[in-house]
Subunit: 216 residues, 2 copies
């Protein structure tokens, strides 16, 4: 089975390729636009004799993150994915994978519009504790005060006293491959891919959960 996966939800383009003989990863993080750089990175794969038509599964990081960046990556992935299986990975979970097996819950925070962050919370095995949300920095600071035994990563970690090295804040291709291959094993494929566009606050998510429990 041949797998190609990419994530363009942050300023770092992340690409993973695997077939029965080799695993190749590439990342590019710079100031230029994603469109141009993604082309160069993909050309590099071609130089390594990767034929995109042979791919069986396309894995895509669906955000939340920069909509412009996400659209570049998702469009490219969709172009490749005709007649192929598709796996969608939340980019917050992908960042959380940088700290899995750390014995702590993992709080992901990404810069959103002025004064706000996107966030999500996972346990050390990447089970979802709070699904992706958008929240003001002020409100989320208060939420974190109630929590214990967690680490904060992502490019919004600076607002919440996160002090881990910068390498934790951005997706890693090997962890993208790990997550995509887990979904392939489970047969978790999707028909359609769209950027994960988050509008709910933590309060709204909690409110819905409560009502779901009542309904059930």
């Amino acid at each position: 089975m041949k797998i190609l996966a990419l994530d363009t939800s942050t300023s770092k383009i992340v690409v993973y390729y695997r077939d029965s003989e080799k695993i190749i990863t590439q990342t590019y993080m710079g100031k230029d636009k994603h469109g141009r750089n993604l082309g160069v990175v993909m050309n590099n794969l071609k130089n390594l004799n990767i034929n995109f038509e042979d791919i069986d599964v396309v894995g895509i990081g669906i955000g939340p993150g920069s909509l412009t960046g996400l659209r570049v990556g998702i469009s490219f992935a969709l172009g490749l994915s005709i007649d192929k299986k598709i796996v969608a990975i939340p980019s917050t979970k992908l960042i959380a994978a940088n700290l899995m097996n750390s014995g702590k819950n993992i709080v992901i925070t990404r810069k959103a519009r002025q004064g706000y962050i996107y966030g999500a919370i996972y346990d050390e095995y990447l089970n979802t504790i709070v699904e992706p949300f958008v929240e003001s920095i002020e409100n989320f600071s208060k939420e974190l005060e109630k929590m214990e035994n967690f680490s904060v990563i992502g490019d919004g970690a600076e607002y919440f006293g996160g002090n881990l090295p910068e390498i934790y804040h951005y997706p890693e291709p090997s962890r993208l491959g790990y997550l995509v291959e887990k979904e392939v094993e489970l047969g978790n494929f999707v028909e359609k891919v769209e950027p994960l566009y988050i509008q709910k606050s933590i309060a709204e998510i909690n409110f819905e959960k409560k009502n779901q429990r009542k309904d059930g």
Copy 2:
């Protein structure tokens, strides 16, 4: 400052490049010989307009590991490093960086000759607890029985009940960059680079330590 770093101590070629505008990483893990693949990976960097003559610092993973693989990488790095500064990183520490900040000590084990492993032990902040050694699987299993609160990674982890995903067992380019940049900040440059060739057992290392204490 422009930094190029590589590690070829395992079956995974790991390359990291950074300048003031961008960070690029590449990895290639396959069955072919390192010589050919390293050339292709380096050509990819040239396609991204990286000029090797402009590099200020060359970082090198010095093993322990496959001597053939190490020689390919170290020769290449030395070829680049004329008139440049050199940073040397033990490849066991590089693998340990995959699990830093996990709240546990990190035991690295790499397959060596039949029945033996290379190993090293670090705390979660990558301070050295036991420097690289070679030991029989049997003896090292007994050593581990005396230890608490640790994780085992590296391609020898299977001998010692290590059950973390495979992605922990091989070097990662972003963590190579992190370690090299820390040495650059500290001004820890070296004049000569040779593969780390390990002949000492744990018993010998402990014996020497004891004598050093007596001398001091």
